[in-house]
Point group: C2
């Protein structure tokens, strides 16, 4: 029975036992809007233990989970896809507001009249090339929205810049280091960099730090058109990027509204950072930046002077063309980039819905995906939005047609403005961090379906077993795979992405780049981030952030068996949600965390430490703290195993007498609490104090990748840059900080302190 009131209603009127799905649009910055009640009905709990009849969790699982899976239909996903991708719906636009309200109409946006451009003039000042700045419409039915083809990057500086060009490969830290070694300086130049192997915002941040006065990003054909650039081998014939196609994206360095660090961007609260401060501290770039197609990139690359690039900097644009470092063009041509941009405050809206838990309403199982897109977003993000809508509908159908009802509350989240730096989710987490730290069990993110080959999961060690187990319960969407005996999603996953030594699929800890990040990094809520991927294009998919992400791509190029992959994604999502919502004792495995610490993280840390150039006596002081951390990790292993007995005992007593629920609550509260132990409230990084997870917060240098124990890594980096006594102490201090978190888990699992 639900036990507390909803919204403005009185508590007493809501104690009716009726399950409901509530949803509302959540306006960051202004006000709250009701989206109405999706469904109502009367049902019993799925957990029917009592002292006479003992029903195992697995039985219930088989009954009701299958029903949800059966209810997930490809045709509905298709319908949702069409509705959600009818128009370009960039965050902050009216069009996107309409997606939040689930209906779309015309979209207007005034800043796109004048396309951005790259211009090349010969030495006599005559214009010899001007990029269009607009990608062509290829499927008019789906791509004719106003300004849909305009090529731009969010937060790029405004203005016109003329300078020599320098090529810096992927623009990561190593590339800049090597460029320096090769004697080329980007200061005062325009940086030309390839997309991939890192977040574009970090590339531009580094270029600006190195003194570049402008930047150009392009997709190399070696990434996005591997079979050739002729019309037979690119979109719409294949999934490869066509000529003039361009990846859009954000350039912010740091997550959330750049003007409201730590706090939600709400009208009634103060904005702690000004735009000037955001530019001064590098959160926002100051230089103009443009994204260009490989077609345009060729115009630059073929003219470039200077030495040939190192072999791993060479791409396939222009076929046999040899890339040059620059600076500048061979015949003294002049390069100019024109960027028309403007910083504006916009209103955004998250959509939050929930099915109230029958037994533990204040325990939240959170499912999320963003809904704002760079253009039409039929892959990123609305492949996920469509699936999530179907999961919600199927769950309510199951509730209405069977005896099932989730024991814990399932929360559905559609985030706005993810593309501008995870703003919707970050501001939500900042607004509710206290509540989430108390109540959130898990956040399960699915940003978009990037391919059709296999499930791919990133998660934390405590949840790996659940991610694997759930995959074994989802039928394989591929006819071809089933015909080869791989009947479940798990079977193909194990085939395509195996971690051979461990005898299970490869699972990494999630980095940044989607809405799970603030949950893990800022709030310490464990996350699962999953999707489908192709192994050939692992980094991303070719049409990423282009105008060609429309339903045609999903249905005719990527998921051609009646959206079977989309459906499987929904079934996996539902399966995970149901497991977390219904398991009596929460399925969190701290023993695996301890094992991974001991077998993987500590050896990696040891290797980092061994690499420090330091005196023997100073090395010993670091090593001593490392040994103590190692000892604490062993303590954690012992305590976790002991606690597993408590978990089993608790589950056993519950099976005997479900009314003795107080022990279940205490055990589950301890399990939830263990995850929060890794949050350092003062942050692990001076540069980004919102990164607070001492094990898993993303690195300073690459927001996409997970960086293990970033605080220690940053301290080592500082010491190597400037080897002072104080910086040495900071390395030891950071090791001790990780150790404090490990001890916190031990204390949390231990009996009374």
């Amino acid at each position: 029975m639900p036990y507390v009131g909803v919204g403005a209603q009185k508590a007493s009127t809501n104690l009716t036992g009726a399950p409901m799905m509530k949803a509302y649009a959540f306006v960051l910055a202004f006000f709250l809007l009701g989206l109405g009640v999706l469904a109502l009905g009367k049902h019993h709990s799925g957990r029917r233990f009592n002292q006479y009849s003992k029903v195992s969790i697995d039985d219930i699982h088989e009954t009701d989970a299958k029903t949800i899976q059966d209810n997930i239909k490809s045709e509905n996903i298709k319908k949702y896809l069409r509705i959600f991708t009818q128009e370009p719906h960039i965050a902050g636009t009216d069009a996107n507001k309409k997606v939040a309200y689930a209906i779309a109409s015309a979209w207007t946006e005034a800043d796109f009249e004048n396309p951005n451009s790259v211009v090349i003039q010969n030495s006599a000042g005559k214009e010899i090339f001007r990029s269009k700045g607009v990608s062509p419409v290829i499927i008019p039915d789906e791509q004719s929205g106003k300004y849909a083809g305009h090529q731009w990057l969010a937060y790029g500086g405004n203005g016109t810049v003329s300078a020599d060009v320098v090529y810096i490969n992927r623009g990561n830290a190593n590339d800049f280091k090597n460029l320096k070694l090769m004697g080329v300086d980007v200061k005062g130049k325009i940086a030309l960099m390839r997309y991939g192997h890192g977040f574009r915002g970090d590339k531009v941040y580094k270029a600006q730090q190195a003194g570049a006065i402008g930047a150009i990003l392009f997709s190399d054909t070696s990434d996005v058109a591997q079979d050739g650039v002729d019309s037979e081998h690119v979109y719409p014939k294949t999934i490869w990027m066509p000529n003039e196609g361009v990846q859009r994206g954000s350039l912010t360095h740091g997550d959330g509204d750049p003007l409201s660090p730590f706090y939600p961007s709400k009208k009634e609260l103060f904005k702690g950072r000004t735009i000037e401060e955001a530019k001064d501290d590098g959160t926002l770039p100051s230089i103009p930046v443009l994204p260009v197609s490989y077609t345009t990139a060729l115009q630059l690359l073929k003219r470039m002077s200077g030495r040939a690039v190192p072999s791993d900097w060479q791409g396939f644009v222009g076929g046999n063309l040899t890339y040059k470092l620059g600076p500048g063009f061979v015949n003294g041509e002049k390069l100019t980039i024109n960027v028309h941009s403007e910083l504006k405050t916009k209103r955004i809206r998250n959509v939050i819905g929930y099915i109230r838990g029958a037994e533990e309403p204040d325990r939240y199982i959170m499912l999320g995906n963003h809904f704002d897109a760079w253009v039409y977003g039929s892959i990123d993000p609305n492949s996920g939005t469509a699936v999530l809508a179907e999961v919600a509908r199927a769950m309510m159908q199951t509730i209405n047609e069977t005896s099932w009802r989730p024991a814990r509350t399932i929360v559905f989240n559609a985030w706005d403005a993810e593309e501008f730096g995870l703003i919707g989710s970050t501001e939500f987490v900042e607004e509710f961090v206290d509540v989430l730290q108390k109540r959130a069990v898990v956040y399960i993110n699915m940003d978009c379906i990037q391919g059709n080959a296999s499930l791919h999961v990133d998660t934390v060690p405590t949840l790996e077993h659940i991610a694997i187990e759930a995959a074994k319960h989802v039928p394989n969407p591929s006819k071809r795979e089933r015909s080869r005996g791989r009947n479940t999603v798990y079977d193909t996953w194990m085939k395509v992405f195996p971690e051979k030594k461990a005898g299970r699929p490869k699972i990494r800890v999630p980095g940044g780049g989607s809405d799970h990040a603030p949950f893990l990094n800022f709030a310490g809520v464990p996350v699962i981030n999953f999707n489908y991927k192709n192994y050939t294009t692992f980094d991303t998919y070719p049409l990423y952030h282009s105008m060609y992400e429309t339903p045609f791509t999903n249905i005719h190029l990527m998921d051609t068996e009646d959206l079977a992959v989309h459906r499987a994604i929904g079934q996996y999502w539902a399966e995970l949600a149901k497991t977390f919502a219904d398991e009596v004792v929460l399925p969190m495995n701290t023993t695996n965390l301890a094992s991974v610490m001991i077998k993987s993280y500590l050896p990696q840390l040891k290797a980092s430490i061994s690499g420090i150039n330091v005196s023997r006596i100073d090395f010993e002081s670091i090593r001593t703290q490392y040994a103590l951390l190692s000892k604490s990790s062993q303590d954690l292993l012992v305590m976790s195993k002991k606690f597993q007995e408590t978990m089993q005992f608790t589950f056993h007593s519950f099976s005997q007498n479900p009314y003795d629920a107080k022990h279940v609550n205490a055990v589950n509260e301890r399990l939830i609490s263990t995850e929060r132990c890794f949050i350092n409230p003062r942050g692990v990084s001076k540069h980004n104090p919102s990164a607070r997870h001492v094990l898993f917060s993303v690195s300073d240098s690459d927001s996409y990748s997970n960086s293990l124990m970033a605080g220690i890594q940053n301290a080592i980096h500082s010491y190597e840059t400037s080897p002072s006594k104080k910086n040495l102490r900071e390395i030891i201090n950071q090791i001790s900080t990780v150790q404090y978190s490990v001890i916190c888990v031990v204390n949390t699992l231990r009996d009374v302190i």
Copy 2:
């Protein structure tokens, strides 16, 4: 039934239903020691609701609470007092270790051979006065411990300093400001300051900041010998301070181990601050400091030159003597202070015991007192230690002899090294902050019994009603008061410390100065800090931190009716503990918090804001944020009232069916969570980031007093010192931060977010 294992035992072996009192000494820095099991027995829960027989909480209260109160005996308190005060037991000494283990023997301490001294030489260089540096033994039976009479201050700098003396009254911020206005500079001088009206550590910190090279603190007779200094009017005839008596104490600026900010001072963890850094940042003083008696102070005051002090700076030392500002002495005498001190790392031990809760073992009701003393400590702190031991014993007796057993876990805490800057409690809170934030319901502190006139309570608004209600259930210990019709502790409280307008006793929010501070300021655990006081000596009691705090004082001077006040203190403590342990729905009143915000805190804030010297447009920007905070406070009031209905409904359903306990858990978790909303993880003060409570953290300038919304006050102070745009924004930002906390409470009480 207890449901999880204890320490190294297996979970399964502890699920026996036996209540137990466990206690162990908790060693900060080294290892953990068991103190053994105090008692064992078999009992039922005190909460006996079921669907057939409905028993009201009040009935149970009358039955079992009385029994505990009856079991609390003065003779036992006397016995404990003797055991705990047999010897001087300064934190970190072997003697104090023995108190931790409950048995005392000889005490040795090598640093006291050479007493500290004040020396005056005439202009010819002849010594004309040298203070003894040692207080005389007056009651040999109780005061003959080695070095018991030595006068010193913890953390004072080591060395000999000669300079002119300047008198600076109480040494608070205002005094230093006025000194400057009067044209006297303390730079290069020795600061002479009176105890009282602020923490001595803050006085010395300010003197050092102002350039003093040494400091002397004395107790003015106007504070500690109001009836005259002749033998008939001071100790041992009265409670007033005798000649040569001296207040000892700590000089640290900030709480906890100065070398381990934020983290526990444990052997296996790194110490983040060096002694040099602690001195550089003002955490530890660098200058020598001495405490002197009024007898010695007279030798200084009567020689001083310069202008007469303002009337409120004048004290009673020397009877009609007029105090002078200085600098220096009238006949050019030379003043020297000799301080023999040394910084040493010592091992300290907290003693933690608990009675496991029968229903909710992971909800902690915490009772605490420190046990280290400056000398014998029969008042501060062992009046409390003796009472707490009796409360623990009486509770176990009640458990063994009646059906009562606490529903929640009661934790007993004896802190070490409180006198050195709340070290034991601060390091404990730093070690277990995650666990405490999840599980601690309340921390109830009783440092020492300062007088015999009336109960005196400091607490937060959410708990005021419980503090009052409990006092109504404790019999009045004073025959005289009972004969005047005041039968309960409450009646006398209301008489002695009335808040007339509110029609209830005066209750303030606790400041610093005892072990409740880290619970409230760092962890956001609500606290009650109480004792008995005399209205004539409100600030402290005359013999405070002198060698004359031995049982004689408690028994023959202060609490002469067979320690009836001590007993009443124990009964009140037990009454509070039982209420928090057994009430089905936790008695936390957020409605009162909202009312106090609206009626008291916001008007105070408004007054502060109105006082800022700022342009009209800037004032409007501050005022706008203030109005939004005001609006949020109104929202809190509405939401709190609504939640009270939920609380009542929950209690009602529980009475009908106690097995439906999940709603109780959720409601109580919300109530506990509301208190944590006021913790800003990044701290409210740049100078002291361990101060994290946005409403109640202590002020930068006076660690003893509570400073309302210290973050805003500090920002206003910074703006007034340096009125920049950035500092103006910081005022608004700090108001917004408080507002964020208020909104957090609303969100926590609200239904699903």
